[in-house]
Each structure stands twice: as C-alpha cells, then as structure tokens.
C-alpha cells in the first residue's frame, strides 16, 4: 500500500465516523470566529435552543469592520462611526458574552485579523483541524494543520457539534523546486502558481505545498502561500511540519509547554507526507524562473511577471477566457500591449491576512527606507495584521520609516482588503495591493486592484508606477 499524504494523515486523525455514503464526521479542534459570518449562526443556536458543544475550542476576534484610524479606534466599539459596522462588532461582543466564548476585543493588544491572530497566539497549532467562517482560513495550513473556510450554516454546525460533515478531497502536490531569486517572495510564488493552474485549478483538491523553495520560506511566507490556496480553487493548502514550524510555535501564549510540549513535538514530527505517498495530481514550478508578479485583470489568475505586457483578447484561444480578458481590460482601464510597468497606482495598500505580518512590513520598509512616496500616489496605507505585529514593527522603527516617507501607519484590521470599513478605493482608481483578491469592486466600487508582494507594493509607492523591486534593493539581480 502506498504511504499517506499529510492530508491523509490529518484526515485520519480527525475521523469520528465514516458513513456508507462517502461522507464522514470530522472533529474540529479549533473554531475561529469573527463578526461578519457569525451573527446568523448564533441566532440559529438560539432559535434551536442549542448550546456550544465545547466552549474552549472557540476563539473570537473582530477584524473586518474595525476602523483603522487611530482617532476613531480610540473610542472602542461605541465609537465606530458606521452604525452598521458598529452593530456587527457589538453583536459579536454580545454573542460571545451570552455563549461564554473567549473574545479578543477591539482594542486588546492581541486583536487583529483572525488569520494573523490565530497562529500568533498559538491558538492554531500543527496537527489541528481549524475552521472559521472565512475562506482564507487556509492560511493556518502553513503550520501543518487541516484548515479551511466554512459558511455560516457550518459555523453553527461546528458550534453545536464540534464536528463537520465532510467528504475527503483529492491530493494535489504543488512543488516549487530550487530557490527563488532575492526580491521574489512567497506572494510571487503564490501568484505564479495561480497563474499556472488557474483559479479553479485546485477545486476538489487539498493542496500540499512542497519543494526546496517552499521549505526555505519562513512561517510568515508559508502563511502567505497557504492563504492564497483558495484563490487557486482549493479550500485548503498545507505545508509539512519541520524545525521552522516548531521554532515558530514554541513559546506562543496558547501553545503547549513543558512535558506537553515534548509530547506534542513528538506527535507533530510525523506531520509530513510519506516518501511513497501518492498524489492525484502533481504540479511542479521552477523557483528560479519566478519573477515578481503583478495582476492586470479582475481575477487572481490574470497575473504576469513585472516585465510583461498587458495581454489582449487575441492572446486567448478559449472563448470564455477571451471575453473575460476583454471585460477585464475595460474594467481595469488598460490597453492590450501596454507595459505592466507603465501602470500608475493611485493608492497603495500594504496589509491583509496575506501580507500584514512582521516580515511583510520589514520587506516593505527595506524598500521604502530613505525614499518617499511618489507625488502621484494619493495615499499609502500600511495596516499591520495585529496589535502584536504593530508593536513589534514600532519597536523596530518601521512605523517611522513609513511615516517619514509620507505613508499612513494604521491600527490593525482587514481595512482596504475588502473595504468594509472606511478604507476604500474611489471609482477608477488603481491600487497596488498586497491583499488576495482583485475582483471587481473588491476594494471599493469601481476600484482597480493589482495584487503584488509587499516589496513590490512599496516599490510602486515610491516610484509612482509598477517597477521590478529587484532594481531597488541591494543584493538582488
């Protein structure tokens, strides 16, 4: 018999009951909750007279609706200007109170984007099943966990039963061989993969990322990569546990210590695919061939290296893709054949659960240091992923680097990633964004998003147009 993949092992470890019809009851170790997708689930519990199955498996944090401006933020929940946003955050507070669930509230130092907070607090650990009513829950797979987004009905299901009814996915290995060049980051790898397999390429699969270039990534980079599994169509992406994982987890507030650490480490060391494991599909990329990436269209698969030209409908054979290209060019206000490096962002956003961790901010600051925001760029928002990231960045003086360059240093939250709070694009504005989705209207009605790495976003902010960041940093080609 062939060996097991990491996904097979995690599945097996959490199998409560296998049913004849191919579905299975899977146990959920950690349930993360935020304000947008939970109110209707709590309401459902209330209506049915149900209680949470296991309170200590849940952790809540508001992130999507929280304001990121210091002044508005200072007054806590009551001071959120938008009444609809305020109600959602208040409802989370009330539900957590009523159902006895631990919440990290708005101005707690640990508050931040749920996918930054989970790993940072050790609330998500290797070997866990982790779910949250948010598709970027795939992020937590970076720790060697089985992590995926769920809808609100499933949020209610997990609250009430600590389980989910699931069907096993197929196994997809994405291997990035060799090493990436300096200046090429996890974000570029993620975008290159999506460019290669398309936004539906991973549908029906659980992705495992492997290969030398993936192994060489820090935990922050691995989270960026797993975060975007959903943009490749897969609900979950994961990476085997190694020393990098264990070093990251050790000492985190909710992580085990002492004897429990020893036992946990022993169990976690087995969380990798066996040498003879069989995958249903394998995709291989050469790390050295990956250049900094920029999306030009309205789907993450509409992505090209920085030195490329914007494509035209005639470049696509498939009629569906051809018309998608036509529509995207019109929405984005771009011409076929135009150099990507000619696109001039009106705003720059560095943040989101993809790229708001300390390493991301360091990469951006390295580019910005000693330079300033281009005059043509109206606004550069730097939004740390959590209060802890913010404090760390401030301790390193990164906030000064950004502010000296004319950029705005904000409070943690989702911010302009989806424009649910006041941070958004105007119609027709281009944005260099480190987030994960460039869908029409995602960052504001009529807004035009270009997905890039933090270093590339910073480079665009200082140059006033997209530019190969490798030209701006030392030690790069």
């Amino acid at each position: 018999m062939a060996g097991k993949t990491l996904y097979d092992k995690l599945w097996q470890l959490h199998l409560v009951e296998q049913r004849d019809d191919g579905t299975a009851l899977i146990y959920i170790d950690r349930h993360l909750i935020h304000e947008v997708t939970s109110p209707q689930a709590f309401e459902g519990l209330r209506l049915a007279g149900r209680e949470p199955w296991r309170r200590d498996a849940n952790l809540a944090v508001p992130d999507h609706n929280v304001p990121t401006e210091k002044a508005e933020r200072a007054g806590g929940v009551a001071a959120i200007a938008d009444p609809v946003s305020r109600l959602q955050v208040q409802t989370l507070d009330e539900n957590c109170d009523a159902f006895d669930i631990v919440e990290i509230p708005i101005n707690d130092r640990r508050q931040g984007i749920v996918h930054v907070v989970g790993p940072e607090q050790g609330a998500t650990l290797p070997g866990m099943t982790v779910v949250c009513g948010d598709s970027h829950t795939s992020t937590h797979g970076a720790l060697g966990a089985l992590a995926h987004g769920i809808g609100t009905s499933e949020v209610e299901h997990v609250l009430a039963t600590q389980c989910l009814i699931q069907k096993k996915m197929k196994n997809l290995l994405i291997r990035v061989d060799g090493q990436v060049q300096p200046g090429v980051t996890a974000k570029d790898i993620a975008l290159a993969i999506i460019g290669e397999i398309g936004t539906a390429g991973g549908t029906g699969f659980a992705i495992e990322f492997g290969g030398e270039a993936v192994r060489a990534l820090s935990m922050e980079g691995r989270m960026t990569l797993c975060n975007m599994s959903i943009e490749a169509g897969a609900r979950m992406g994961m990476i085997a546990v190694d020393d990098v994982t264990l070093d990251y987890v050790k000492g985190r507030p909710y992580a085990p210590s002492g004897e429990q650490w020893t036992a946990a480490e022993a169990a976690w060391r087995d969380l990798h695919s066996d040498d003879d494991a069989e995958f249903d599909r394998v995709v291989v990329l050469e790390g050295a061939a990956i250049k900094p990436q920029v999306t030009w269209g309205t789907s993450p698969e509409m992505v090209l290296p920085i030195d490329a030209l914007v494509p035209g409908p005639q470049d696509f054979e498939d009629p569906v893709k051809r018309s998608a290209c036509e529509r995207a060019l019109e929405y984005m206000g771009l011409e076929a054949g135009q150099a990507i490096s000619e696109i001039r962002p009106d705003r720059v956003f560095i943040g989101s659960c993809t790229n708001s961790r300390i390493e991301d901010l360091r990469e951006a600051a390295n580019v910005v240091r000693g330079r300033s925001k281009a005059a043509s760029v109206k606004q550069v928002l730097i939004v740390p992923g959590s209060g802890e990231v913010k404090a760390q960045a401030e301790a390193e003086g990164l906030d000064k680097v950004f502010m000296d360059a004319g950029m705005e240093w904000r409070e943690p939250g989702c911010s302009m990633c989806l424009a649910m709070n006041a941070d958004k694009l105007g119609a027709g504005e281009h944005c260099a964004s480190t987030s994960n989705r460039n869908f029409e209207g995602r960052q504001g009605f009529g807004g035009r998003t270009h997905l890039v790495s933090p270093a590339m976003a910073a480079a665009a902010a200082v140059a006033g147009h997209f530019v190969d960041v490798r030209e701006l940093i030392e030690g790069a080609a």
């Binding site: 409560v16 009951e17 019809d21 191919g22 009851l25 146990y27 947008v36 997708t37 109110p39 209707q40 309401e43 149900r50 199955w53 200590d56 498996a57 609706n65 609809v84 946003s85 109600l87 959602q88 409802t91 957590c96 109170d97 631990v102 650990l125 070997g127 009513g133 948010d134 987004g149 769920i150 809808g151 609100t152 009905s153 499933e154 299901h157 009430a160 039963t161 600590q162 389980c163 009814i165 936004t199 539906a200 549908t203 029906g204 609900r235 909710y254 429990q260 946990a264 569906v320 893709k321 018309s323 998608a324 989806l418 424009a419 649910m420 989705r437 869908f439 029409e440 209207g441 009605f445």
Partner: protein, 217 residues
C-alpha cells in the same frame, strides 16, 4: 429547510465564467446580522447603475437595462444557468442567501467553487454541475426560446427540457437525502453525539494540549 423534490421553473442566464461571491452580493451587504432580505441586492453592481447601500430601498434606484436579469422575459426565474467556477471567492453564505431570497432554487453550471457548492445545499438550493457542452446547449436553447423552463427532478436526478430531453445529473447521496427531505444537518450530527464524545475522550488522552487552554469567559 424547504425540501427540494421536483421543481419546474423559468431559466435565466448569468453568462460569464468565474462569477465570484463579491459579484453575487457585494460586501457592503454583509454587514447585516440577518439571514434574509438579500434578494434585492443580488448581483447589485450589475443590476443597478449606482452603488447600493445596505438598508436602502432598491425600488427607486437606476436599473441597468442591459443586465439580463432585468429583462422582462426573465422575471420570476428560479433556475439560473451559469458558466464555469460559479461562486468562487469568499465563503460568505450571503451569496446563496441572496440567490435564494431572489427566488432561485437551482443553479446549473459546468463547475462550482467548493465552499459555495456546499453552502447551496445548506440552504435547500440545488447546484447541478453538467458537462460544459450540455450547459452551452441549454444556454442556446434558452436564448432561442422566450419562456424557456426546465423541470428539475432531484429524486430521479433528471433535468427535463421542454424539447422532451432528459439530462441525468450526479448528486451525492447524503446531500440528496438532506435536500429532498429538508433535513437539518445539526440534528443529524447530534444523533452521533456518543461517537463524538468517545472520540473526544480519546483525543484528550492523545493530545491533552488541545483542551482547556483557551477556556470560556
């Protein structure tokens, strides 16, 4: 949950690939803490010419006459015909809620995004994946015939066309059972409460670090 057995309904088109959940229901409407009332804002950015706001009365808003769902011939449609990778993007269940609130009971496309597909069943809506060629044929037939309706027979897993054709479709047995009978998933799972407790006891032995760390309030 409303049971879904045999449903006949007018067919309307959403003729583009990769329709994402942001397009199905833009994020400003996610701020609602309710489950219903999203129908008027389904495909908001395509249906109207202005930017919709939550809580706003949509009846006075400027309508995009070029968007098919606004054509009189598709009024009252309950079967949506779509292209590949329908429902990609975020996991928001507001997307199926909006489709359902608008009046759709069935969506037919060559492929769906996983989370969206799953969310449809949780709301008594039936997503059906068919070969791209068959879907294309349905698009042609629908465009050519005003009032084009389909009969979707879930118990027999058949779609019947006005031309008298029957198209078979796949659906997983558990989901079919729940959807046909309008069963609540949670109630079904709680029948396995003993198995869950048994599993939990074993887990506590094997991985004690997973318990009591976060606690309750």
């Amino acid at each position: 949950m409303k049971p879904f057995t045999v449903h006949s309904g007018l067919v309307a088109p959403m003729d583009r690939a990769n329709v994402d959940t942001d397009l199905i229901i833009p994020k400003q409407f996610l701020k609602s803490i309710k489950r219903s009332g999203f129908g008027p804002n389904l495909f908001d950015e395509l249906r109207y010419l202005d930017e919709g706001q939550p809580g706003e009365d949509c009846s006075g808003r400027p309508v995009n006459d070029e968007f098919p769902l606004n054509f009189p011939r598709y009024a009252g449609a309950s079967v949506l015909l779509a292209r590949e990778n329908f429902g990609c993007g975020s996991s928001r269940e507001h997307a199926p809620w909006a489709l359902e609130d608008y009046g759709f009971r069935c969506i037919i496309a060559p492929s769906f995004a996983d989370i969206f597909f799953n969310n449809c069943f949780k709301n008594g809506m039936l997503p059906i994946a068919l070969d791209a060629e068959i879907v294309d044929g349905l698009f042609q037939a629908m465009y050519a015939n005003e009032g084009y309706a389909l009969e979707v027979d879930l118990p027999n897993q058949l779609i019947r066309t006005p031309e008298g054709e029957s198209i078979a479709f796949e659906v997983d047995a558990f989901r079919k059972d729940c959807t046909v009978n309008g069963l609540d998933d949670i109630g079904i799972t709680l029948k396995s409460a003993d198995a869950i407790r048994h599993y939990e006891a074993g887990l506590r032995q094997r991985a004690p670090w997973l318990f009591d760390v976060i606690g309750s309030r």
